[in-house]
């Protein structure tokens, strides 16, 4: 692919750049002439779905993005949230779905690399990572290959870079057969007065290229991310990018060192559509023009054209506007870390984006329009149909509750993910207080005696499929709940909205309703969205993935000495349910995996109860009154109790004999806003009184003890047997 700048612009070429006729007309209107080949590439990169959010912008604007703690919301590389003492947490989540399907190891690795770069570009040192993964059915021929490649890619990059992976999700469903999801999250900590933005300031200042050299990797990658898969997939292969975590680690250290010197005026990582996107964003946000001289760009391949350089997605690169008086200092730091450092352009006052290559001006475009005049669509959407209510007594009961619970906890989706997270370094940096396997990952804040941060990532796609609005709410609520279950106060969240083709009204309808649900839940729970990512066109041969709006959140613990874990109960303690008795079986694991049906609506999230119950549990944890805590999510009360027993290595004696409700609803219902806590006996009455006074629903379930999980007259399972079934599914499957 070495096409020069005079290559004729044909209709096919325009279409192959993902530009619809109306989009192309807008270009003609803007510049008053036919674009050059390079310019066409630049427009396609800036205006594709991935970079311009043209289908989603209208709806994203409705999300709550502000709050007392929010310093920077969406629009920057990552969201920035105050954690006190002059420090802030910087975080974001991003998808690398299509690249991971094509080349699972490198796709996942570069996904992790990209999100880490987003975080440290802002001046933050990454302290935690998560990965939310979705794969096809376990029996599908590609699934194992994808799982193994993606997991080793996530680990390969994150472990070498040196950030602990503290959480994530892994789920299997046939709807991801042709389109896996890899959503990577990273968080870093920065000084509140040491945050760097991408907005350039000052005319005539040097634009500096930092990091690795440019190759032809991923040319057209962002365009690919916005296209449906079809048989031409093989032809799209050469765009694979290879990650180099070693260079990224050096880039991190060099950037943080450089930022200390006061040399950096603006900085932007080169992610999707590399040089183009980063240069345009810096100029457009700062109301400045930018000139680039491509002959000065460090390249690692011969005869690269302007088009290729502008669209390359080579990894581990940054663009920066530099204080010219500090040029030598800056250069020294980069040389010390073995990285390329080159002045490749300057800022101007003409609001043009001008690119020069081999004595030729290959592009001259209006920078503001390029940055934010992408066509915006109000795509037609159709409200999805809803299921009518399904009371538990209309759902078939299991014959053997014990066997049913056993089969759930050893199932592909509910079994332990240890096989995955033991391939990730969960301990590096020495601050991990809770590693994966509990409700949320928790890390200490370096240099602070008592402060810690909690992280969780959640969504239940089957709920979203059945009712996108409730599903959107539920994703937020579950994330908030998982953070709360450690005793942390949820601060803010980030989203990664994975959907099918937005040009189909029913898909667009899912998108619209999910955002509405997310927005309502974030408002009710004071959990603003401060950054995010949209991944559309996740379809193969016209079949869309399940709607998957992943929500990841961050919470703060002021004193981790009072933190709850899923394990930690002592013999004789009281087991208590906070929240209502279970009865909702629609769209549950029981319904889907045991009965093999997808009936009924998903559980409704009562946001008021969610908030009250959560605040109650959190304050009990913070007051040191709770010895262990676990939220109830998929699999219901039965699975939550089993998970607590397996994590702690003890049994429980539960008695539900006086509850006059269908037993399968009680045990497997996935009603929301619920937790299980264990409490010292002498404290139990006090907590019960408090709950009653506060109008919180609760139930004393039984006691901790023995080596079996016993539900009186219903089931009796040996904890060691449960644990081995739970732990073995994944390694056995992958063997």
């Amino acid at each position: 692919m070495t096409i020069n700048n005079t290559y004729p612009i044909t209709e096919d070429l325009i279409a192959s750049h993902g530009l619809a006729p109306d989009g192309y007309q807008l270009i003609l209107d803007l510049i008053g002439r036919e674009p050059t080949y390079t310019e066409l590439g630049i427009f396609s990169a800036m205006w594709n779905e991935h970079c311009s959010y043209k289908s989603s912008k209208k709806w994203l604007r409705t999300l709550p993005t502000t709050g007392d703690r929010v310093i920077h919301g969406p629009g920057e590389n990552a969201g920035v949230v105050d954690i006190g003492d002059g420090e802030c947490v910087v975080f974001k989540m991003e998808s690398h779905n299509h690249p991971s399907y094509i080349e699972p190891y490198q796709g996942a690795a570069t996904g992790v690399g990209g999100i880490l770069r987003d975080v440290f570009t802002m001046g933050a040192r990454p302290v935690a990572a998560m990965n939310a993964l979705r794969f096809g059915d376990v029996s599908h021929e590609k699934t194992k290959h994808l799982v193994s490649g993606v997991v080793s890619g996530v680990g390969g990059y994150g472990n070498s870079f040196g950030v602990p992976t503290v959480g994530g999700e892994v789920e299997f469903d046939a709807r991801y057969n042709g389109n896996c999801l890899v959503n990577a999250f990273a968080a870093g900590i920065a000084k509140t007065d040491g945050i760097f933005l991408c907005k350039a300031e000052g005319v005539g200042l040097p634009v500096v290229y930092l990091g690795a050299k440019t190759g032809r990797d991923g040319v057209g990658g962002a365009t690919m991310a916005s296209a449906e898969f079809d048989e031409t997939i093989d032809e799209k292969r050469p765009t694979v990018q290879v990650g180099d975590p070693f260079t990224e680690k050096c880039l991190l250290e060099a950037c943080l060192e450089l930022m200390q010197t006061g040399a950096v005026i603006a900085i932007q990582d080169m992610g999707a559509a590399g040089l183009t996107c980063s240069a345009v964003e810096m100029g457009a946000q700062g109301d400045l023009g930018v000139e680039l001289y491509l002959d000065d760009v460090p390249v690692r391949e011969e005869r690269m054209t302007a088009y290729e350089m502008m669209l390359s997605e080579s990894q581990e690169r940054m663009l920066m506007v530099l204080d010219p008086s500090k040029e030598e200092i800056a250069k020294e730091i980069f040389v010390k870390w073995g990285l390329d450092f080159a002045i490749v352009g300057k800022t101007t006052d003409d609001l043009r984006f001008r690119v020069f290559h081999q004595n030729e001006e290959v592009a001259n475009l209006p920078i503001k329009e390029l940055g934010d005049q992408a066509p915006e669509y109000d795509r037609p959407w159709r409200e999805p149909g809803l299921y009518s209510p399904l009371p538990a007594d209309q759902v078939q009961e299991p014959e053997d509750y014990g066997a049913t619970l056993m089969s759930i906890l050893a199932s592909p989706n509910q079994s332990s993910r240890r096989w995955v997270w033991e391939q990730y370094d969960t301990l590096i940096q020495g601050n991990s207080l809770q590693i994966p396997g509990g409700d949320a990952g928790v890390i200490r804040v370096d240099g602070h005696a008592t402060k810690a941060l909690a992280f969780s990532s959640d969504v239940t796609p089957h709920y979203c499929e059945a009712d996108a609005y409730e599903g959107g709410k539920q994703a937020v609520a579950e994330c908030w709940r998982n953070i709360t279950a450690t005793g942390a106060l949820p601060l803010a969240s980030t989203d990664n909205l994975n959907f099918g083709n937005p040009e189909r009204p029913e898909i667009m309808g899912q998108f619209v309703k999910a955002i509405e649900g997310i927005g309502d839940a974030c408002r009710a729970l004071d959990f603003p969205i401060v950054s995010g990512n949209v991944s559309l066109y996740n379809e193969t041969f016209g079949e869309a993935i399940l709607p998957t709006p992943t929500i990841a959140g961050v919470g703060q613990l002021d004193d981790w000495a009072n933190m709850a874990k899923i394990a930690g109960a002592n013999e004789g303690e009281v087991v208590m349910l906070i929240g209502c008795d279970g009865s909702h079986l629609g769209q549950t694991v029981y319904m889907r995996d045991i009965l093999g049906e997808t009936a009924g609506p998903p559980p409704e999230v009562d946001l008021t109860a969610e908030r009250y119950n959560g605040d109650f549990v959190r304050s009990a944890i913070n007051n040191g009154q709770v010895s262990s805590c676990h939220d109830i999510s998929q699999g219901g009360l039965a699975l939550a109790l089993a998970e607590m027993c397996m994590a702690g290595g003890y049994g429980m004696e539960i008695d539900l004999t006086d509850v006059q409700m269908p037993l399968h609803g009680l045990l497997f219902g996935e009603d929301q806003a619920r937790y299980v806590v264990t409490i010292e006996e002498k404290m139990a009455q006090f907590i019960a009184n408090n709950a009653a006074d506060a109008g919180i629903q609760f139930r004393v379930l039984g006691k901790v003890g023995g080596d079996k999980l016993v539900v009186k007259d219903v089931l009796e399972l040996d904890v060691a047997e449960m644990k081995s079934a739970h732990e073995n599914w994944f390694p056995d499957y992958m063997a």
């Binding site: 190759g215 032809r216 694979v240």
Partner: protein, 80 residues
Amino acid sequence: MIKARVTVTLKNGVLDPQGKAIEGALTGLGFNGLEGVRQGKVFDLEINGDNKTAAGKDIEAMCEKLLANTVIEDYSIEIL
């Protein structure tokens, strides 16, 4: 018994961080004049039987299915 060697190398243009680091290290050790280092893999296979044509076909299938990641790698087969 048939012995064969499969050599798997990165496609042109695919970034090779390992090769780059090795090149840097060799230069650091005082070896001048290096213009490039690319790292690849070899697999030495021993296969029962003596039908070289059949073995060659099998090995090609092994490369396509497992030994090479044909998205980013090329392979070559040598029956010894």
